[in-house]
Structures are given as structure tokens and as C-alpha cells.
């Protein structure tokens, strides 16, 4: 069914006179409805993760201060046609607090590394949030009614004087202002010696995995005092350590399959049915090194910072320092597509090593139909690549040039030679403005971009349906 859809869409796109979807896309900054509470798009802290839930109705963000802010999409209303589906603050809570590890005399940061939503199974929403060491399950519920007319208590909750009670009444539920309540349901602690870099909920909706630099653990959502170790790459002698785990994810449909990436640029697909400890991969995805590009920095720039399965489950997307790559699960030898994110940085690697930028971990994202991929870069730029047309665009997340409803215009980085008017030269790029975290709505052309302290939500009004 997916393949049929894919073929039809591709045919439709190719049949169009000018299939320049990306160029026709008009990304607008989504401003909040003027009557609702202000959109807190500027935070005191650096945003460290962004994640849409499975319907796209909710958008969760975590920051360096351990806080989670959830945004909700307002339903479209006929009365206010301008505010079609804008995102407003839904709930804010403190997920993690800073801790001190007394054994090692080190602080444990409260920074939220990842948030993953659980599939919704009832009226409540649930999400997992994690810092370096501890994962927590949060339940988000709404309350919009409250009971009134108790027999024994008055409106303020004080006990009534029983002599004044002459008849019995049945309490009734009266509507009240919406209250969003968040409560911690589970705390999964002490499972990791090293820093957690990823969590991923299994398609079975019962288990999830958490990965640190050297190990991956499998948890049951209802059990907090036990976890199963499914990958362990810690060498017997730590002196021999040359490779760490950088990211991991469960397959979206096959609950026994998961992938993890390494600092040497390899991907390992593992099958949990094969063995209890999945140290032997089922498939190893690795691209041979290009000898003409070899340098002392080759290994560092090949380190995979993020891996994401496509929605279809057929492909994987990886991000390393300079490129994004699409891999077919059936081909281990090399990626099927490679896109240059900012190749002009290749000659600057030494400086980027010196100022540590070379270790920045960028994330990547698929759109809902797996036809476009997106990733962040420096200078508050982010890039989108259309896999079908092979066209790409660079956009900038900034408030300066965008008034409400203004459309983002494509940017260009010039590498010397002819320079057009609005081009930015490589040497004037701001490396402190990095877009590490981006997310794409699961069904529509809505994207969330975290630019340091600012969250931007862009919508494509022209093509709101996914292509």
C-alpha cells in the first residue's frame, strides 16, 4: 500500500510541469492567536530537544534547565480564520533537577537530552524524558470539569456544620477552566553508568530502550527496578576503547529490530530474537572511506550524530558532521543517497576542531511521506533536501527578517567567486548560532526549529498537505 502510494505520488510529481515543490513551498512563521496566552518562544535556557507527538497535535520541548514545555495546536476555528492551527503553550513542568553523584564527585546535569512520546492509549498523554542518567515517564491529563454540591464540604472544601445540613443532594460536574496536570508516573534510575544519548519507544508500546555511550538497555514501561542490557560495547580494558554508541532507535514496525550508530560512522541493525545480548549485529552499514578526502579529522566528521528510521521503515537517515545520508535497509555497502549540508566547512576543519564545533551533534528529520529530509546547520540556517527532485533549500530561523505571515526566503552561502546580493560568506557565519534540533510534523508541512533559546514553528500554507 505504501509502495503504491509512493509510486503514484512520484508519478504525479514528475508529471507536473515544474515539480519544484521545495521552491514553491512558502514557509511562514506561525504566530500565536492574539487572544490566547503568549507563545513562550523565547526561553531562559537553551532548548535541547524538540519532538512532535504521533498526531502532531502536541509539540514537546526540553531545555538545559530540565524543564519541559508542551505546545498544543489550536483547532481551526471558523471565527478566527487567521489562527488556523497555531501552537500555544499547553503545559510547563520541571522534569529533571540537577543532581550530585557523591561517588564520583561530579554533577549530573538536568539538561533534557531526549523526549519521546508514547502512543496515546486513552484520554491522557504520556511521554518519556531523559537527562544523562535518569528517564522519567510523565502523564499529562486534562481537567475541565469539577464536582460541585458536596454534602459534607462547602465550596472551599471546609467541613460543613452538620446541623445545617437538612437535605441530601447529588454533586454535579460543572465545567471549569481547563487545567493541565502533569505527574511523574515512573522513574527509571540507575540503569546507566555513562551518559544517555537516546531513548526509543518500541512499536509494541510496552517496552523502550535507552542508550548511553557504551550500553543499550531495554526497559518495560511498567517496571522501574530492572532493565535488560541488550548491547554492551565496553571493552574489557578501557584503554582499548576507540568507539562509542552515538544514537539508537527502534524500527517503527518490527518490534524486534533496532539500529544503533557509532562514533566511527557505522550503523548496526540488531535483531532481539537472535540473542539476548545483541552484540553481534544482523547487519552492518558502513561506507568505505574516500581516500582522497583523508585527513586527521576524517574519523571525527564521520561520527554519526543522529539516526532516524523513515516512517515507512524501509530507510534510515543518518547525520554526520558534513552530510546527511539515506540508507536502504537492504543495502549495507553504502548509502543510497548522500546530501552535502555544508561542504564549505571542509577546509575549515582545523579551526572547527580548535573551537570544538566539530563535535556538535546535529539531528535530522524526515517529513511524513519520507520524501523530504531536514537538518540544521550554523548561522541559524537549516537545510531541506527533496529526495525526488534532488533540489535543496537553505532557510534561516530568525525573527529579524520575518514579520508575521512573511515567507522565509532561501539563503545562500558563497564560497568565494561571484557573490550575489544576499549571500553570506563562509567567514562571516556565526558558529555560535547552531540549529541542532529540528522536528517535522508527522502528517503536515509544519516544522519546529530550535535555535538556541528560541523555538520557531514554520508552516507551509501553500502546500499544507504532505506530498
Amino acid at each position: 500500500m505504501e509502495r503504491e502510494l509512493e509510486t503514484r505520488l512520484r508519478a504525479w510529481m514528475e508529471g507536473r510541469a515544474e515539480s519544484r515543490w521545495l521552491e514553491k513551498c512558502q514557509w511562514e512563521l506561525a504566530e500565536p492567536h492574539p487572544e490566547t496566552t503568549q507563545l513562550e518562544s523565547v526561553r531562559a535556557d537553551i532548548i535541547s530537544t524538540v519532538e512532535f507527538n504521533h498526531t502532531g497535535e502536541l509539540l514537546a520541548t526540553g531545555d538545559k534547565g530540565g524543564r519541559v514545555v508542551i505546545f498544543q495546536r489550536e483547532p481551526e476555528s471558523k471565527n478566527a480564520p487567521h489562527s488556523q492551527g497555531e501552537y500555544d503553550v499547553y503545559s510547563t513542568f520541571q522534569s529533571h533537577e540537577p543532581e550530585f553523584d557523591y561517588l564520583k564527585s561530579l554533577e549530573i546535569e538536568e539538561k533534557i537530552n531526549k523526549i519521546k512520546w508514547l502512543p496515546q492509549q486513552n484520554a491522557a498523554h504520556s511521554l518519556l524524558s531523559t537527562n544523562d542518567k535518569t528517564i522519567k515517564l510523565w502523564k499529562i491529563t486534562e481537567r475541565d470539569k469539577r464536582p460541585e454540591g458536596y454534602n459534607l464540604k462547602d465550596e472551599e472544601g471546609k467541613l460543613k456544620d452538620l446541623s445545617t445540613v437538612t437535605s441530601l443532594q447529588v454533586p454535579v460536574l460543572k465545567p471549569m477552566d481547563l487545567m493541565v496536570e502533569v505527574s511523574p508516573r515512573r522513574v527509571f534510575a540507575n540503569g546507566h553508568t555513562y551518559h544517555i544519548n537516546s531513548i526509543s519507544v518500541n512499536s509494541d508500546c510496552e517496552t523502550y530502550m535507552s542508550a548511553d555511550d557504551l550500553r543499550i538497555n531495554l526497559w518495560h514501561l511498567a517496571i522501574t527496578d530492572r532493565s535488560f542490557n541488550i548491547v554492551d560495547i565496553k571493552p574489557a580494558n578501557m584503554e582499548d576503547l576507540t568507539e562509542v554508541i552515538t544514537a539508537s532507535e527502534f524500527h517503527p514496525h518490527h518490534c524486534n529490530l533496532f539500529v544503533y550508530s557509532s562514533s566511527k560512522g557505522s550503523l548496526r541493525l540488531c535483531d532481539m530474537r537472535a540473542a539476548a545480548l545483541c552484540d553481534k549485529h544482523s547487519k552492518l552499514f558502513e561506507e568505505p572511506e574516500d581516500p582522497s578526502n583523508r585527513s586527521f579529522f576524517s574519523e571525527i566528521i564521520s561520527s554519526v550524530s543522529d539516526v532516524k528510521f523513515s516512517h515507512s521503515g524501509r530507510y534510515m537517515l543518518t547525520r554526520d558532521y558534513l552530510t546527511v545520508k539515506v540508507w536502504d535497509l537492504n543495502m549495507e555497502a553504502r548509502p543510497i543517497e548522500t546530501y552535502q549540508v555544508h561542504d564549505y566547512l571542509r577546509s575549515k576543519l582545523c579551526s572547527l576542531y580548535e573551537n570544538d564545533c566539530i563535535f556538535d551533534k546535529f539531528e535530522c528529520a524526515w517529513n511524513g511521506s519520507d520524501s523530504v529530509i531536514m537538518t540544521g546547520a550554523y548561522n541559524n540556517f537549516f537545510r531541506m533536501f527533496d529526495r525526488n527532485t534532488k533540489r535543496d533549500v537553505t532557510l534561516e530561523a530568525s525573527r529579524e527578517s520575518s514579520k508575521p505571515r512573511a515567507v522565509l526566503k532561501p539563503r545562500r552561502v558563497c564560497v568565494g567567486g561571484k557573490r550575489r546580493r544576499d549571500d553570506i560568506s563562509v567567514d562571516s557565519l556565526d558558529f555560535t548560532k547552531k540549529i541542532l534540533h529540528t522536528a517535522w510534523h508527522p502528517a503536515e508541512n509544519i516544522i519546529a526549529i530550535a535555535a538556541t533559546n528560541n523555538l520557531y514553528i514554520f508552516q507551509d500554507k501553500v502546500n499544507s498537505e504532505m506530498h
Binding site: D101, L106, E107, F296, F297, S347, C350, D356, F359
Partner: protein, 245 residues
């Protein structure tokens, strides 16, 4: 700013001073390439040491830097610019490990100590070798690398690594109280400016213990988002814990 460290397949004649084509085993690398490579090595060692602040260091970053150091050392061994007097080792593998730990064992002070002679002007390769053999073998046997990965390892493992850490903190303590940024701000940052290295302008900051510290703190100017805290009081706290009197 645009020079790239590239190991080409062929060795080109050094007609272009900026060109960095290294050689394969057996050929001598050009002086400018050696200088740059040495800079990279020093920079890497500094990065490894300085990631031991108050928050547990990023293991991925440390591993990648250590691998880079290993690569440089391997290439230098092939070039013949690296001669090590390592204790008798059974096979090839232990020797490699000793060599790699030797690099990491070398405190920055020992590096600095060897430098003044060779630093003025051209290549520094002659000055490099005596510095290496001066490293006591006791240090070579310990593995500070493991202490980089496992912060909860016993204190003894830190060995030579601990020595250089002590030097860092000693010097930091002796400065007047103030923010760490102040500490780094007046440092001569030209040491790690590759242009300056190539023109041989670096030389004044290399002598002695205190200024040796200053030279490598130039690189350590905390980039945004680093975990180095600016409160010197917290550094004192860290010193107490690490030195463990």
C-alpha cells in the same frame, strides 16, 4: 585560516608554503606540516586534559580526540620523526599501547621544557626526540587514558595525568580570585594561531612552568556551551576532591 590537514597519497614538493601534503612512511614530512601536526597534537592533548572539570566529560568527544592523537602518533612513527625508547615489549600490540599511553602521559610541562631549543624558526623535530625519552617509564606503564574514560577508577591510575592536572590547579589557585574567564583573557592566544606558528613568532611563552600553563590555556578559552564553570570557588572544591589530601 583555510589550511587543511590532509594526508595526500603523493608527497608534493613544498613549493606552496600553505600546502599540507604529508608523506607516507619513510619520507620526511615538510617542516611546516610537522609544525602544524605538532600543533594539532598539542591542542588535542590539552583538550583531553581540560575536559576534567566539574561535570563528567563527554566520552564521545574524548574518544574522538584520543583517536586523533593516536593517528598523529602513528604517522609520526612512520615518518621517522617519532622515536620512542619503550621498555621491552612482547609483541607489537603492547608496544603500540605503551607508545600511545606515553603521549598521554607526557605532561604539558615536559613538552614545554623541550621546546625552546627547537622553536625558533624552522622545524622542531630534533628537539622532539629527547623530550620523549625523558619520560620516566613508570609513567608509561600507567594508563591515564583509562582515567579519562572511567572517572570512578582508583586514584592511582591517574598517574602522570594527575601530575599535569595538579599543575593546572596549582597555578589556578595561585592566581588572584576572579572568574576563570579573567584567567584566560590575558593569555597570549597566538600560540595556537597556525599562522603565527608557521612564521615562527611563537617562542616567548614557552619557558618555565607557569607560562607553560598559559600557553595551553589559550586554547581552553571556553567555547559557548562548554561545561567549564566560571566560579573559581567551585574549582577550589574540585581541586580538593581530585588532589585528595
Amino acid at each position: 585560516m583555510g589550511t587543511m590537514f590532509a594526508r595526500g597519497l603523493k608527497r608534493k614538493s613544498a613549493e606552496d608554503g600553505e600546502d599540507v601534503e604529508g608523506g607516507l612512511a619513510g619520507t620526511q614530512a615538510t617542516p611546516s606540516y610537522s609544525l602544524q601536526r605538532q600543533s594539532l597534537l598539542d591542542m588535542s592533548l590539552v583538550k583531553l586534559q581540560l575536559c576534567h572539570m566539574l561535570v563528567e566529560p563527554n566520552l564521545c568527544r574524548s574518544v574522538l580526540i584520543a583517536n586523533t592523537v593516536r593517528q598523529i602518533q602513528e604517522e609520526m612513527t612512520q615518518d621517522g620523526t617519532w622515536r620512542v625508547l619503550a621498555p621491552q615489549a612482547a609483541g607489537r600490540a603492547p608496544l603500540d599501547r605503551l607508545v600511545s599511553t606515553e603521549i598521554l602521559c607526557r605532561s604539558v610541562r615536559e613538552q614545554e621544557g623541550e621546546r625552546p631549543a627547537a622553536d625558533v624558526g624552522d622545524g622542531r623535530t630534533p628537539g622532539l626526540v629527547p623530550g620523549l625519552s625523558a619520560v620516566p617509564s613508570a609513567q608509561a606503564l600507567r594508563s591515564p587514558q583509562s582515567s579519562l574514560w572511567e572517572v570512578d577508577s582508583s586514584r592511582e591510575n591517574r598517574g602522570g595525568f594527575q601530575k599535569s592536572l595538579d599543575q593546572i590547579f596549582e597555578t589556578l589557585e595561585s592566581k588572584t580570585p576572579g572568574s576563570v574567564e579573567e584567567l584566560f583573557s590575558d593569555v597570549d592566544s597566538s600560540y595556537y594561531d597556525l599562522d603565527a606558528v608557521l612564521t615562527g613568532m611563537v617562542g616567548s611563552t614557552q619557558s618555565g612552568h607557569g607560562s607553560g600553563l598559559q600557553a595551553f590555556t589559550a586554547v581552553a578559552t571556553p567555547p559557548p556551551g562548554s561545561s567549564c564553570r566560571s566560579d573559581l570557588g567551585e574549582l577550589d572544591h574540585a581541586v580538593e576532591i581530585l588532589v585528595e589530601t
